[in-house]
């Protein structure tokens, strides 16, 4: 106990080590943190680079339907898709995705090819 006393005293007067959520907000994520990914439909040309390299198979490309289907619950936010994208159509945002009850599936209809032509 005597050995622990300095730590006890320091903690007694030192204030909280944790954030008083929900009275105070949680800390902001770091600038380069990998929170979630977002697609820019205006830039995507459905080349499929992201889907081929995704280790979790979270992205499906359907060229006939002009669709990009993103299973957010499969995504491991490894940033490989963003690195593979030649058109900068995938952005990694630092903010975490909110918890969900049902698995979210995003369906995108890219317009990048129409814009290029």
């Amino acid at each position: 106990m005597p050995l622990m006393l300095p730590t006890v005293i320091r903690n007694f007067f030192g204030g909280y080590a944790t954030r008083l959520y929900p009275f105070k907000d949680v800390r902001e994520p770091f600038v380069r943190a990998r929170g979630h990914i977002e697609f820019d439909e205006n830039k995507c040309i459905l080349c499929g680079n992201c889907a081929r390299r995704c280790p979790a198979a979270a992205i499906e490309i359907n060229k006939e339907k002009n669709e990009l289907v993103f299973n957010a619950a499969h995504c491991i936010i490894c940033e490989v898709c963003a690195e593979a994208c030649n058109k900068d159509a995938i952005r990694v945002e630092p903010k975490w995705r909110a918890p969900f009850y049902s698995k979210p599936v995003e369906v995108h209809h890219p317009k990048g090819k129409e814009k290029a032509s």
């Binding site: 770091f30 280790p55 490894c78």
Partner: protein, 360 residues
Amino acid sequence: MAPRTVAPFGPQHPVLPEPIQLKITYEDEKVVDVVPAIGYGHRGIEKACELNEYPKNIYLCERICGICSCIHGISYCEVVERLWPIDVPPRAKYLRTIWSEMSRTHSHLLWLGLLADAFGFESMFMQFWRIREKVLDLLEMTTGQRVTQSISVVGGVRRDIDDEQKKKCIEVLREVRKESEALINVLANDYTVKARTVGKGVLTKEQAIALGCAGPHLRASGVKEDCRMQGLQAYGDLGFEPIVEKDGDCYARTLVRCRELLQAIDLQLEAFSKMPEGEIAVRPKGNPPANEAVYRAEQPRGEVFYYAKGNGTRNLERLRVRTPTYANIPSLLVMLPGCELPDVPVIVLSIDPCISCTER
């Protein structure tokens, strides 16, 4: 003679975060026999690695274990690089070393907290985990995520640490070292802690070698063996010396990890001061050639062994991983018989069991 009773310790037990079962036979309060049973968390990762393309396996290998995920990812990349072989740029080697040691720092802080919790020192548990949070924040700041960092790629690393981050890292690591020293002073000298650890679960040097133990568990029994002594990555430049204790009991294992924690912080600080400028990755050409390679790395829990066999395609023909806890579990059969029943959690925890690593 008192009647013998067999009781299951696990797979669900407050002291075990992961599922392993020990069938303990005891007389009165004395353990006489132990039979471990593993296989509750097998996921077939080695087979899955054969079915995946080789760059995708990095993320799979990282999920072998949550605590040493960074070193698993790095080890996989290192073994695949040896198939070509690819020479990784020096800065990438230093960055890999820094992240490996950062991962060791948070793993040892986690373990020290768990040990305190195992003998009922709740406040000490909180103190260690509070410090650990700072290290996890550093990992998030530099790599992007707290636990599965996904930082290594075949040929180097994915991110660099800029000067601003480096300054912040050094500042926080010094703080962590100072705070850890204060807590280690309590842990190493407190009467109650000593009463629960000194002379408990003794493993002699000869037994440790015969049973093929690894890591801090082996070094606590007086064997100078550490994979970082190979001088791979940047360890050769950092003047690394393994930490060895002689007694081989729970107290010695605690001391080894305490000293390794401080040493890991020193290694990071030294690596930051010596880190050269330059490229952080090279691009591998083509697929891994038909070749075989092995790689040994020192994880927080001991030696991890990676074997890879390429066949010229984008898939590996075989990937084999040997993890340290699998090597350390047999030592429980020597350490537990003869001990008192209340000492079982402390002795089991003293090998730092990581079951998700063991079962893959």
